[in-house]
């Protein structure tokens, strides 16, 4: 990938597509948890509809991310923001597929407003950290 001047930007662009897909699928559910967006729909229904797209977004972002990393592995190792991104990515993925999933897929009455809001805010902050970390990787 390093030998071709075209390949890196193309892979980076596809990585950005994944970002948009993840962003959309996460936002639809998190906004709903905050009582915004598609308010009149049951959370579990939205979560079930959005989940395949979250997975597709990850399917696009994760491999392209690995490819991007492979270009500059030794360089990234020393960049703080790379580790910030990886750490928050690990945490948000764990969080999304355990706590958040349980909250979104279960009956609304059981969960309550406080917990829904908390889950949404944690999810949004973590993803924002991943995104900012990603953008700032090049800058010490």
């Amino acid at each position: 990938m390093r030998s071709s001047p075209w390949l890196f930007p193309i892979v980076a662009t596809i990585h950005l597509f994944g970002l948009a897909i993840i962003g959309g699928s996460v936002l639809v559910v998190d906004l709903r948890l905050l009582g915004l967006g598609l308010r009149r729909q049951p959370v579990s229904q939205l979560a079930r509809d959005a989940e395949p797209w979250l997975l597709r977004g990850l399917l696009v972002s994760l491999p392209t991310g690995v490819l991007l990393f492979m270009c500059f592995a030794t360089k990234y190792y020393y960049l703080t923001f790379f580790w910030v991104k990886m750490a928050s990515l690990a945490v948000v993925l764990l969080f999304t597929f355990s706590i958040r999933r349980e909250v979104t897929m279960s009956d609304e009455q059981r969960i309550g407003r406080v917990r829904s809001t908390a889950v949404a805010l944690v999810s949004l902050s973590l993803w924002t950290t991943v995104a900012i970390g990603g953008r700032w990787i090049g800058f010490p």
């Binding site: 930007p9 597509f17 699928s25 936002l27 009149r40 797209w53 995104a131 800058f139």
Partner: protein, 168 residues
């Protein structure tokens, strides 16, 4: 400062394209099919619009950081064309198929024209992201200082070329 504006621009794209994407997917009949289309449009569009405003503001700021560089950038120019096409697509959708939304609101899969609008929209977001990402690469591939270049590249980039080698 530039970095902050750029970060805002890229992060807001998740809001803007993300919500627009879910909306287009509904128009394609691929997701949230049990939700009435008008509901999806009504509920997500405010977020898309807010995202768009931030995108355009941060985009304008990014442009004014180095106006001539952007203006003479092939990728930037094509990106602006794509934006106009996207706006056109929305306008056409609004004035035709959307008028009769009551007919297909509850359908799992909307009629062909709505699907076309959604598909074109999706393609344009992908093109916009790609072109935006490529803007910095102008410097390596098509910059006006890299003469001699083919006439087409010079014409598209708006380079002023004469016997002088000074960049204009």
């Amino acid at each position: 400062m530039y970095l902050i504006v750029l970060t805002v621009h890229v992060l807001t794209l998740t809001v803007f394209v993300g919500t627009a994407l879910m909306l287009d997917l509904r128009l394609l009949g691929v997701t949230m099919t049990r939700v009435p289309a008008s509901e999806v449009i009504a509920r997500l569009l405010p977020w898309t619009t807010a995202g768009l405003l931030v995108m355009m503001t941060s985009g304008a700021l990014l442009f004014y950081a180095a106006p001539m560089l952007r203006y003479q950038n092939v990728f930037f120019r094509l990106k602006m064309v794509a934006l106009v096409l996207a706006a056109l697509n929305v306008w056409v959708f609004r004035s035709t198929v959307y008028r009769r939304i009551a007919e297909w609101d509850l359908d799992r899969v909307p009629p062909r024209r709505a699907r076309v609008a959604g598909g074109v929209s999706l393609a344009l977001w992908a093109i916009l992201i790609t072109l935006g990402r490529m803007i910095p690469y102008q410097l390596y591939w098509f910059d006006c200082t890299r003469q001699p270049q083919s006439a087409i590249v010079n014409a598209l980039s708006g380079c002023i070329t004469d016997s002088s080698s000074v960049r204009r």
